[in-house]
């Protein structure tokens, strides 16, 4: 896989994309940006996007728009959903938020961190703590990575998930320290077992008491520790600082962001390094690096389109947002779980592996059946109406133009002519847009972003 990006000149890759006759800023590129930096967009949002410049749009996505009403509504809704203490309800509520949010990039990054700092309701079981963590991730979604790590290190849900309850001075639990190095900051190979043991001592006494973080000084090890060649009476905060100072941190995180935003698979070091340098220069602030990635020549090039497998959440929310549709989100949460992505219930500490692992015969059929359920369910509304009326309102009437409208909206790369012909035959049968959408959702191209 890395061969794809092996020969790419980094200075070209991260150069700012400027629309031109060869690569115009059009609906296809705007849709690409919305798919990667969010969960897709409907026609109105795409038209609005191309009436401005890509730079403006990226700025709006990164900075976010003020939406106090929406935020209040979401806070209230999530609090009442958490009150039932069923973490499954949080997943439905979060899907609701993804579906309607005016700040899709923040939501997408919240999802990124949920996979990065994976914490599962299967073990934590307390909806309130899981909701608090979800809000923490959203607060820091495009903020300061260092502060995010510090906050997560004291987050009760995370501490419960990684067994801080057994983190005693006499017998430090190495779980959190190990994951901090291996999964959160540095990656395998950038540390020694000794670093883990010493780091674990820094976090002794970090406990959860009745759902809240507590520093228990009777269990804390105040002795001298030695991590990455530095010595001192390090506290947990010091430990995090020392880890973040490692240059591997910036490279590790940039690599993961590229996998998230640009393409499945790995990237060669020369492509990583300029961004890692920027990340370090920014003091591990995330906004700059994300701006660079989303505004780069590489990001809008053909090398990237269709090089990521859509996650189940991207698949489901993408369909809903693209058609301004409303469905039962409990049902959606359950179906997405069957497709391999139960929000709030990531499979293990590593989160979702993504890429090819989303795909097997059961999940392909499941995606098709889910699409059918979404578009044919009598409860589903599209822009408040039934599907044919909604599409007619969008000017989708004539079969060929309508089909192309849908393809442009939803599919990242061209589909074979013969597939196009088959879909067109369906569209020409009349009153068959639901079938067309269904057939489109089972296309191999549709599974890619």
């Amino acid at each position: 896989m890395n061969s794809r990006f092996q020969e790419i000149d980094p200075s070209w890759a991260w150069r700012r994309y400027e629309p031109g006759p060869e690569s115009p800023w059009n609906k296809r590129r705007a849709a690409h940006l919305f798919r990667r930096a969010g969960f897709g967009a409907d026609a109105a949002a795409l038209n609005e996007a191309i009436s401005g410049s890509p730079g403006e749009l990226i700025e709006r996505l990164v900075v976010g728009v003020d939406a106090p009403d929406f935020t209040d509504q979401m806070n209230q809704m999530m609090r009442t959903l958490a009150a039932g203490n069923n973490p499954r309800n949080l997943a439905s509520g979060w899907l609701y938020r993804m579906r309607y949010t005016p700040n899709p990039l923040h939501e997408k990054m919240t999802l990124f961190w949920h996979g990065h700092f994976a914490t599962s309701g299967a073990k934590v079981e307390k909806a309130e703590l899981l909701l608090n963590q979800n809000e923490l991730l959203r607060r820091h979604a495009i903020g300061d990575f260092g502060q995010l790590v510090l906050a997560i290190a004291r987050d009760p849900a995370m501490l419960l998930y990684l067994d801080s309850a057994t983190n005693r001075k006499s017998h430090p639990n190495e779980n959190f320290a190990r994951e901090l190095l291996e999964l959160f900051c540095l990656g395998l190979g950038a540390y020694t077992e000794r670093d883990i043991q010493e780091l674990a001592r820094c976090f002794t006494g970090w406990e959860v008491n009745q759902g809240e973080f507590r520093f228990n000084r009777f269990q804390a090890d105040f002795g001298v520790k030695s991590i990455f060649g530095k010595r001192g009476n390090f506290t947990g905060e010091d430990g995090v600082r020392v880890v973040l100072e490692q240059p591997a941190t910036s490279r590790f995180l940039v690599r993961k962001l590229l996998r998230f935003f640009v393409a499945d698979g790995d990237f060669p070091d020369p492509l990583i390094e300029p961004l890692a340098a920027q990340f370090r220069a920014d003091g591990l602030q995330l906004a700059g690096v994300i701006r660079t990635i989303l505004g780069s020549e590489l990001f809008y090039s053909d090398r990237v389109a269709g090089r990521k497998v859509r996650s189940p959440v991207e698949f489901g929310i993408g369909l809903l947002r693209g058609l301004d549709a409303t469905v039962n989100l409990n049902m959606l949460a359950e179906e997405l779980g069957a497709l391999g992505q139960s929000l709030i219930f990531p499979p293990n500490v590593k989160g979702w592996d993504g890429g090819k692992s989303w795909i097997n015969s059961a999940t392909i059929l499941g995606r098709g059946n889910l699409a059918r359920r979404l578009v044919t369910n009598s409860e589903t509304r599209f822009g408040g109406r039934k599907l044919p009326e909604y599409l007619a309102g969008q000017g989708v009437v004539e079969p060929e133009a309508g089909l192309n409208w849908l393809l442009e909206q939803f599919i990242a790369i061209p589909i074979p002519e013969s597939s196009h012909a088959r879909l067109l035959e369906l569209a020409q049968r009349g009153d068959a847009w639901a079938d067309v959408l269904h057939a489109m959702a089972v296309l191999p191209e549709f599974q890619l972003s």
Partner: protein, 409 residues
């Protein structure tokens, strides 16, 4: 790397094709079809949750200590289904007795691990992860094996049937495992529209060139998925259980699994659970019902697979997180114990009792002592049944147990 190659040869040709840069659609279809008929070996795990009372499952009916320790629960010589002069099945286990007679059931005695943990959760985690060390229990033993398999555009490599939480045994790093309730998940729903089905089928098969290997992978998966859906459709229409399955939740799940196996799914691992073995009080009736459900369902499943000629490539393993104490308690029940028997069934097993029944005059804190580490059973299945690197998966070498026929490779 040697191990991966080993698996590839044993696996379907489809896995190879997914690496090929470009493959004409008709070839992919053919591959999907051949994968169906040429699927490899299957393991069906039946988890007995709650701690099965091993002593009242394989009963030492002559043993005086047993009878004294269980004034209300002991099963007498006139009731057991005799295995030999010392041991017999619980009378509700007619199905297991039949299978033993047919040469399809291996009873591995005295299975457990050192320093047994008597908490359901802890002990189940140990069985699932095959690790006694608390901090290394994030992955399952089957999950680790699944991670060894190369990405495959075919059927889900493992499926969990049931609505309970997915067992840790299936926790993987790479390949998410689905939990399913019905076969509908494996059928494409086109609302009865033939034209739509045709359009989907033909759209998937269109030639897509070779420039995007991810696209080739998804296309191969889609073609395989549609073929799988047709197989399940056909199976649902034409499959007739060769035997009557008893009416129980477990039997229903096993029958669905038999249908998928018969439909040519190349899923390697099926996982089901039967809960309720935590019989602290009024055990007799409850335990009898559970054992009847277990042995009736398993027996029907084996007979069904045999009649459909799949039994040669299917192995069924049943385990529980621990056994129960030798002495009964004051509520005509039994409390959490340690070592217990495990069951392995299929046409390729060495039938009969494996290992000796644990001594009742030499107990470990009131429990029978184990003599066979459960990971030796796992190792046997991993290495001999699946040809996987058992040592790597289990974290160390475990001596195999001789419960499989010598000719299985």
């Amino acid at each position: 790397m040697k191990t991966r190659r080993g698996f590839l040869t044993a696996s379907s040709s489809l896995a190879l094709l997914s690496f090929a840069e470009s493959t004409p659609a008709f070839l992919m279809r053919a591959a999907a079809a051949s994968a169906a008929s040429n699927a490899g070996r299957v393991l069906v795990v039946v988890q007995l949750s709650g701690g099965n009372d091993g002593l009242n499952t394989i009963v030492p009916y002559r043993n005086e200590i047993y009878r004294r320790a269980r004034p209300s629960l002991a099963i007498g010589a006139d009731q057991v289904l005799k295995i030999d002069g010392e041991l017999g099945f619980h009378p509700a286990m007619r199905g297991f007795a039949d299978q033993l007679e047919q040469g399809r059931l291996s009873l591995i005695q005295g299975v457990g691990y050192a320093n047994p943990n008597r908490s359901h959760f802890e002990s189940m985690d140990i069985w699932h992860s095959a690790r006694t060390n608390h901090s290394s229990r994030s992955l399952g033993w089957l999950g680790r094996m699944l991670d060894e398999l190369p990405p495959d555009s075919g059927d889900a490599p493992a499926l969990h049937f049931g609505d309970e939480t997915q067992p840790l045994a299936l926790a993987t790093l790479r390949t998410p495992v689905s939990s399913v309730g019905s076969l509908e998940r494996f059928r494409l729903d086109v609302g009865g529209r033939a034209a739509l089905r045709r359009a989907i089928q033909e759209s998937a098969e269109s030639d897509r060139g070779s420039s995007n290997d991810l696209l080739s992978f998804v296309q191969a998966s889609t073609i395989n998925a549609l073929a799988a859906s047709e197989r399940v459709d056909a199976a649902v229409k034409s499959y007739r259980a060769a035997v009557d399955y008893p009416k129980s939740g477990l039997a229903e799940k096993l029958q669905r699994i038999a249908q998928l196996i018969d439909a040519g799914f190349n899923t390697r691992i099926f996982y089901v659970s039967l809960d309720g073995f935590d019989t602290h009080a009024t055990q007799a009736a409850a335990h009898a019902g559970l054992l009847e459900q277990l042995s009736g369902a398993v027996s029907a499943f084996l007979n069904d697979l045999h009649a459909h000629q799949h039994l040669d490539r299917v192995l069924l393993m049943a385990f529980s997180e621990f056994g129960r104490r030798v002495a009964e308690n004051a509520s005509q029940g039994t409390d959490h114990g340690a070592a217990a028997p495990m069951f392995v069934a299929g046409s390729r097993v060495r039938t009969g009792l494996i290992g000796h029944h644990p001594r009742l005059d030499d107990l470990d804190d009131g429990d029978p002592k184990f003599h066979t580490d459960f990971r030796r059973v796992y190792a046997t299945i991993l290495a001999r049944w699946f040809q996987q690197p058992a040592g790597e998966i289990l974290g160390q070498h475990y001596e195999p147990v001789d419960f499989l026929n010598s000719n299985i490779g």
